[in-house]
Amino acid sequence: MKAAISMFIIQAPATAPEYQSVLPNPQLTDVEAANLSVAKKRSMTGVIYTYVKTEGTSRFTFNFTLSRSKSLELEAFVRATIALQWRVEFNGSVYIVYLDSNPFEQQHLSGFDAVTLILEGTKS
């Protein structure tokens, strides 16, 4: 289900938000990948054994193009909540995540900033 107004809303802490920032939608190259891993072992008889690890979380990557002011706002938000769990609303989904970008980097372009947020957590 799509939200009526699609924005990228980030709040922190996730349980009782004290900080909130509203960003424009990320660019269309956002990425989602599950945190799954598998280790394959092959025995001398040719039988393959697999060992899997599931964490129930995913990694999300969002690329933003922000005005300089909004980029400064995001930087202030990150500095204040770097160790807190975020609650993100975007595109009808709620993400309970931590910021995984380390370092948090802003690339200053002509009149705007390019920022990439890498988040890790759950999506519902």
């Binding site: 107004i5 924005m7 979380t57 005005s67 706002e73 204040a80 690339q107």
Partner: protein, 327 residues
């Protein structure tokens, strides 16, 4: 040698008394050793009594005609400490081994009563060990009672600081949909106000306070980067739960990476001299937005690329600045 004994009596009277003063006695040793044996080897021993024995052995040889065997061991041991000076060591030990064993007995009554009390101590160590064993060969009925009462009573009244705090937080965040909210600085929460950005010349100066050397350079090219690297602990548990912690007192490091591609030959030389002068020293930086930083140039071995030798020349380099925002 007498074969018939109608009355056999042994009396042992001992009096032992030790009286100490009330001031200071390093050692008070009062030992009373008893070793009393009564043996009745004859046939008709109607009554054998042996009272008062610390190491007491009473053997009735005849298994048939010893109608009554009474072996009473009575202990009254008191160690009373009334002194008011110092009693460093008070030892009151009462060892008890009692064995009453016969091959054929109509009744065996073997009670052991024990009462051990200790008063007025700083360090309480009270041990009471008791082993009771009744091993009859032929008996009816068999009753074996072992009563045991040991109590340690201690009353402690201590008042310590009790803190019981319950912090409740409630937050209401309202999303105001206004024009320009997606590009303006409109944070919600306890965040600093928007910094004032004023276009400025890109300037390096040394020392950071009361500078004596100032170097004005062309502004960096489009694409320079600001990296915010917070010190934080971020790890995952074995179950995959992510745990993040950061102390606000921990320092933060901001790295400015700036590509400068239009240095003249003179500016190049000045910058190279500045890098040598300030190697490992804290310098000041005024960026192209008018914000002041203090920090260290992280790449004193910066490479300078000559793009053109015509006129004043054109040279390019990259400066990495690790510092903190001052204003």
């Amino acid at each position: 040698m007498a074969f018939r004994v109608y009355q056999y009596g042994i009396e042992v009277l001992l009096t032992d008394a030790t009286t100490g003063g009330t001031i200071y006695e390093p050692v008070i040793d009062d030992e009373l050793a008893f070793d009393e044996d009564v043996s009745a080897p004859s046939i008709f021993n109607v009554s054998i009594e042996d009272e008062l024995g610390f190491d007491d052995t009473l053997d009735g040889y005849d298994e048939v005609l010893d109608r009554t065997v009474t072996d009473v061991i009575q202990f009254i041991q008191n160690t009373d400490v009334h002194a008011t000076v110092r009693n460093l060591v008070v030892a009151d030990e009462l060892g008890f081994i009692e064995t009453l064993r016969r091959q054929i007995d109509v009744e065996i009554d073997d009670p052991i009563a024990f009462l051990d009390e200790t008063f007025r101590i700083f360090t309480l160590s009270q041990e009471l060990g008791l082993t009771q064993s009744v091993s009859p060969s032929i008996t009816r009925p068999l009753r074996q009672f072992l009563s045991f009462v040991q109590g340690v009573a201690r009353q402690v009244i201590s008042s310590r600081a009790i803190t019981n705090s319950l912090a409740l937080r409630q937050a209401v965040l309202v999303l105001h949909l206004t024009n320009g909210m997606l590009c303006q600085y409109v944070p919600q929460g306890d965040l600093p106000a928007e910094p004032t950005l004023t276009p400025s010349d890109f300037t390096l100066f040394y020392p950071a306070v009361a500078p004596t050397t100032t170097l004005i350079l062309p502004n960096p090219e489009v694409g320079n980067r600001t990296s915010y690297l917070p010190n934080r602990i971020s790890r995952k548990s074995r179950g995959g739960t992510k745990q993040v912690f950061r102390d606000p007192a921990w320092p933060t490091l901001t790295t400015l990476t700036m590509d400068i591609g239009s240095l003249t030959t003179t500016q190049r030389g000045n910058l190279q001299d500045f890098l040598i002068l300030t190697l490992g020293q804290t310098v000041g930086l005024l960026d192209y937005e008018g914000r002041a930083w203090t920090g260290i140039i992280g790449n004193p071995d910066a490479e300078f690329t000559t793009l053109s030798d015509h006129g004043c020349g054109t040279h390019a380099t990259t400066i990495v600045f690790d510092g903190e925002l001052v204003s």
